[in-house]
């Protein structure tokens, strides 16, 4: 591998580790400096991830053996188109969220916001890069532990209550993760995903039952992270209770579950796995369709804008996983495009809702009629854009994403179900957001008086960041051609896992198959 690229791959994990530690140990009482370090780290990660994405777009799969212990004995970091794309998405989102947190002063509301944020990025980047199943567990734990701290940031009774539920359910998820990893290790004798793919493909029929059980237990864990029905109950409470900046960052957390489902589903249980090929698809698809319906219906059950944003995260994950679970190359490309869109759109919605809630002072983000608040024209415009982004109306990228998904699943036998679900839930989403928007902005416009203008920290800055995230949705639309070309190439790469296996285990391994 090109040494510069291998440096960059490791830097994506090392940089947040080192800067997070410095920020924790040396900069505890120096807010200005730790802010500078955090923003610098996020900006550097954007540059690194962009460079890696440009490199990966050439089609090469790069493997970096940590400590120079050769796979399958050591742990390998693997860079392919999918992991590069996820790194870039994480970095862009993290930079926007970090700037928002700094300009609105969220990071002042408790200790250790900056170190926790960096450790969160460490865990996320590591999870996207690692080629080892147990290491994936460790990185999951790293970002979960950081997320516990971030979720509770600022404290308060409601947040602690949601925090207990979130922590307990994720700890149960972690134990299940170990059961799955243990089962797969017990049967295949390896933890390296590339090596495991080969062993699964060569497994005798007697072992296939246990392998299938291990794979499905892992899928339950990933579905829990992705908040797939019936494992979604933790999400609305947790995302609605935490600070907006953290909720916006957590938009990527459900996508880690989706990433892990895609990675294990196409690599370990890929086409070559014989009877076990794509075994998770038939289980995920019905759950994903129900998730889509529940998520968009939940918009009507929400009592606050924040809860609406949380439910829309569930709904969009459902749409995403219905496209993923057919495990077809022509549906995977659109699904990956939708990953980019739904993450950024959900984050933008969380931030816009927060801007509205702050300006409505004691009315907050409750779906009630209240007097006019400052900047309400501007914010109604932003809310409108975020809403059409998240439900998938033109001209923003959600529309393109859903259109491509509908086109991509056409050849699948379950196409009718997916089409009906996506089209009907989109209508439901439009109605729910129209109802919320008209109550918050139009009905409120006719109320006498106005909510007094308060001196808000980051009054302009917050709006600029939220508008910036919405601009990325517009950019995804304008750059639709190159982006879909990249995601389609990613899908093709995912469905020919031999390249990944060769990159990790060396060319010689290819002949063993």
């Amino acid at each position: 591998m090109n040494p510069a690229i291998s440096w960059l791959v490791v830097a994506a994990v090392i940089l947040p580790t080192v800067l997070g530690s410095i920020s924790l140990l040396a900069l505890r009482h120096r807010l200005a400096l730790s802010r500078l370090v955090s923003i610098g780290s996020c900006a550097a990660l954007v540059v690194i991830a962009a460079a890696l994405t440009v490199h990966a777009s050439g089609g090469a799969t790069e493997s970096y053996a940590l400590g120079n212990w050769r796979a399958p004995f050591g742990i390998a970091l693997v860079l392919d188109r999918l992991s590069a794309l996820m790194l870039l998405l994480t970095a862009v989102l993290a930079l926007a969220v970090m700037i928002y947190a700094v300009v609105t002063g969220v990071d002042r509301k408790g200790w250790h916001f900056h170190p926790l944020f960096q450790f969160q990025l460490l865990g996320l980047n590591g999870a996207f890069l690692t080629g080892d199943l147990f290491n994936l567990f460790v990185f999951f734990e790293v970002f979960l532990i950081a997320s516990y701290g971030l979720l509770l940031h600022g404290q308060g009774a409601g947040r602690l209550k949601a925090g207990v539920n979130y922590v307990v359910i994720n700890l149960v998820g972690s134990t299940l993760f170990l059961v799955g990893v243990g089962l797969l290790y017990g049967v295949t004798g390896t933890l390296n995903m590339a090596d495991m793919a080969m062993r699964v493909a060569a497994a005798p029929p007697g072992d296939q039952g246990l392998i299938a059980a291990g794979g499905l237990v892992l899928t339950v864990v990933f579905a829990l992270k992705a908040a797939l029905v019936p494992l979604h109950f933790w999400l609305p409470g947790a995302y609605a209770a935490t600070t907006a900046a953290v909720a916006a960052l957590f938009a990527i957390m459900t996508k880690v579950g989706v990433y892990a489902i895609i990675r294990t589903g196409t690599l370990i249980f890929g086409e070559d796995a014989g009877a076990l090929a794509f075994l998770t698809g038939p289980w995920i698809l019905p759950a994903a369709l129900v998730t889509t319906v529940v998520g968009f219906l939940g918009l009507f059950a929400a009592r606050t804008l924040r809860e609406m944003a949380a439910w829309s995260v569930i709904g969009s994950t459902g749409v995403l996983l219905s496209a993923v679970s057919v495990f077809r190359v022509e549906a995977m490309g659109p699904a990956l495009y939708y990953v980019l869109h739904s993450t950024l759109a959900a984050a933008a919605l969380f931030l816009v809702v927060d801007l509205i809630a702050k300006r409505r002072s004691e009315h907050g983000d409750a779906l009630t009629v209240a007097p006019r608040f400052q900047q309400s024209e501007l914010l109604s415009g932003l809310f409108f854009l975020a809403a059409i982004g998240i439900v998938g109306l033109p001209p923003l990228s959600g529309f393109i994403g859903k259109l491509l998904i509908l086109d991509g699943v056409r050849a699948a036998p379950e196409a009718a179900w997916i089409w009906a679900t996506i089209l009907i839930t989109t209508l439901i989403g439009v109605l729910a957001f129209a109802r919320a928007g008209s109550r918050i902005f139009w009905q409120s416009a006719s109320v006498e008086g106005a909510i007094p203008v308060r001196a808000l920290r980051g009054r302009r800055g917050g709006v600029v960041v939220a508008a910036g995230l919405l601009a990325t949705l517009a950019a995804l639309t304008v750059m639709g051609g190159p982006v879909t070309a990249y995601t389609e190439a990613t899908a093709t790469q995912l469905f020919s896992p031999q390249q990944y296996i060769d990159a990790v285990l060396g060319e010689t391994a290819g002949g063993r198959r």
Binding site: K161, V168, G182
Partner: protein, 115 residues
């Protein structure tokens, strides 16, 4: 055969106790349940390297055969993480009790209805 039976039933009992306790309504039994679950998983991971006796995990001149060292390393990692997380949950549960005045997992007293 007896050893397999013993280990397997120990894992089963620990898991059953853990699942039962995790489903309780108050935070203290839930924390205990998580601890039981992590014990069960540690034993389970250990057993995934196959049960053998009197064999060293790493290099030994006199040894003829070895036991699988990897699950032992995995169990160590899992123990560290589970231990840290249990400590964290205890503190979190205590803090929640002090802030909300109840140790119910959903933060509501028995019979209290959601507003």
């Amino acid at each position: 055969m007896t050893m397999e039976l013993l280990v397997a039933s120990a894992i089963a009992v620990l898991t059953a106790a853990g699942v039962y306790l995790v489903l309780r309504g108050r935070t203290f039994p839930v924390v205990l349940g998580l601890a039981f679950l992590s014990y069960a998983i540690n034993l389970f991971l250990f057993a995934m390297g196959r049960l053998v006796i009197n064999r060293p995990p790493i290099y030994d001149k006199a040894a003829e055969a070895y036991t699988d060292p990897l699950p032992q390393a995995l169990v160590l990692t899992a123990i560290v993480i589970a231990f840290g997380m249990t400590a964290f949950v205890v503190v979190l549960a205590l803090r929640t009790f002090l802030e909300t005045g109840t140790d119910q997992v959903d933060g509501r007293e028995d019979g209290e209805v959601q507003p």
